[in-house]
Symmetry: C2
Subunit: 262 residues, 2 copies
């Protein structure tokens, strides 16, 4: 990877670069995640700059924070046992999914759709066995992804003297469309929503319904580089003039009563 060529970026720049930081070693509970980022940037030859968005796959945060469960220590409930037996799943895994869930929307075909404690609606409460070392270990979502993002932003800001935005991601399914996409579950240093209401369009008319979930779009853009099988948990989005402010990933969660798509 070559370093940024220092092109000047203007608001609504005509180019955005999605740069993957490579060579990240396996992260363990207690690791200093800011240092892991700095090492990865150095190894890749990328110097972080003011206005960059650092996108972080949540799993590396979960590992550093110890948001992991050893299935050998899980005693499945009766519900978990029955569902697992019907669908050929590991009852201990199902038990962890139930524990991470606030409210179950569906339990069908071996899949549980639920709302997590954070308010995210996703499959299997985002409990994941992939890309975790040790055959019996599963990862959970970070306890508070917005706090994780804010802490990483503060620490990188302190060490580098820079103003970065942080987006922590996971990949969720969605109704009506096939496939999962990367979305923002934790945000710091930016507004996750760009509100174009009240701005005139090209023909001078005021747009009424143009509220863009740009943090989710940033997360999706980063997935094009991180991929699913690469050890590339850190991605720099450079040249995007994101909405300034102190937003959170929680801002992206729609209150139930507002959900016309139910």
């Amino acid at each position: 990877m070559s370093e940024s060529k220092g092109e000047s970026t203007t608001p609504q720049s005509a180019e955005v670069r999605i740069i993957g930081l490579r060579e990240t070693p396996e992260v363990h509970p207690g690791d200093d995640i800011a240092q892991v980022v700095l090492d990865a940037a150095a190894a890749t030859g990328v110097t972080l700059a003011d206005g960059d968005v650092l996108v972080v796959t949540h799993k590396v945060i979960s590992k550093a924070e110890g948001a992991l469960v050893d299935l050998r220590e899980v005693e499945p409930s009766e519900l978990a046992r029955r569902f697992a037996e019907t669908w050929g799943k590991d009852p201990r895994y199902i038990e962890v999914v139930l524990r991470e869930s606030d409210r179950i929307l569906r339990m069908e075909r071996g899949l549980i759709i639920s709302r997590t404690r954070h308010g995210f609606i996703c499959a299997n409460a985002a409990v994941d066995a992939s890309n975790v070392s040790g055959g019996e270990i599963v990862s959970l979502l970070p306890r508070d992804p917005d706090a994780s993002a804010a802490a990483l932003r503060a620490e990188l800001g302190r060490r580098l003297g820079l103003d970065l935005a942080i987006v922590i991601t996971d990949s969720f399914g969605r109704p009506w469309r096939n496939g999962i996409t990367n979305v923002a579950i934790g945000v710091a240093g930016m507004q996750p929503i760009a509100d174009y209401r009240g701005q005139p369009d090209d023909f001078g008319r005021v747009m009424s319904a143009s509220i863009l979930a740009v943090a989710d779009e940033i997360a999706s853009a980063a997935e094009l580089v991180s991929g699913k099988v690469n050890r590339c948990p850190f991605i720099v989005v450079r040249g995007y003039d994101y909405p300034r402010g102190e937003g959170t990933g929680a801002d992206l969660i729609m209150p139930d009563q507002m959900n016309l798509f139910r």
Copy 2:
């Protein structure tokens, strides 16, 4: 905008570039959209290259194809009149939304959530008054966005001797999350889904649920450059090793019976 620096891209390249083509003039029915693309690329100083994904905001396609309705020629139905009156909307606009809908999911608070003839579930059947010249003209979705994408790909391939992928986009809302995001409604020259099932993860385990809607992620990435208020309907995504094959945007529509998130 500077031209590509000709950096070599490898599969799973560590950098993806999102390049907006600028200076696009207003498009009118019957315009040669391939020529509009070529003119925009030339004006921006970008040379299209093998393996680029050209992302196109659907509205420029709708305009070129004449997928426009003059509200002065629309006679609203009784249903359209009543709903419009209750919510302070234009009954002719509501009538066009109803005509473009296959099935109504909700009519609440002035918003109609429906399934379009294409199978997309979105707000107001994607009938849009913004960024269309002439105060009484609204735009519809292209009649067949996959056919539009295939035609543009074939024409650009013929003129340039290149193998490009095309993604035609619109911005849709989604349940449970605030804000709209850009998604793919028409695709040509690539598979819109990257299926990582069966590939081992970093720890050699086979991943079971890793089906990424990469065409939607490409659409979202492009929105970071096109913005909502800029006249930038063409965006080049460069350096992304997309899944080869002859997929369509329709591949992204989930059959009703598969929708566990309902």
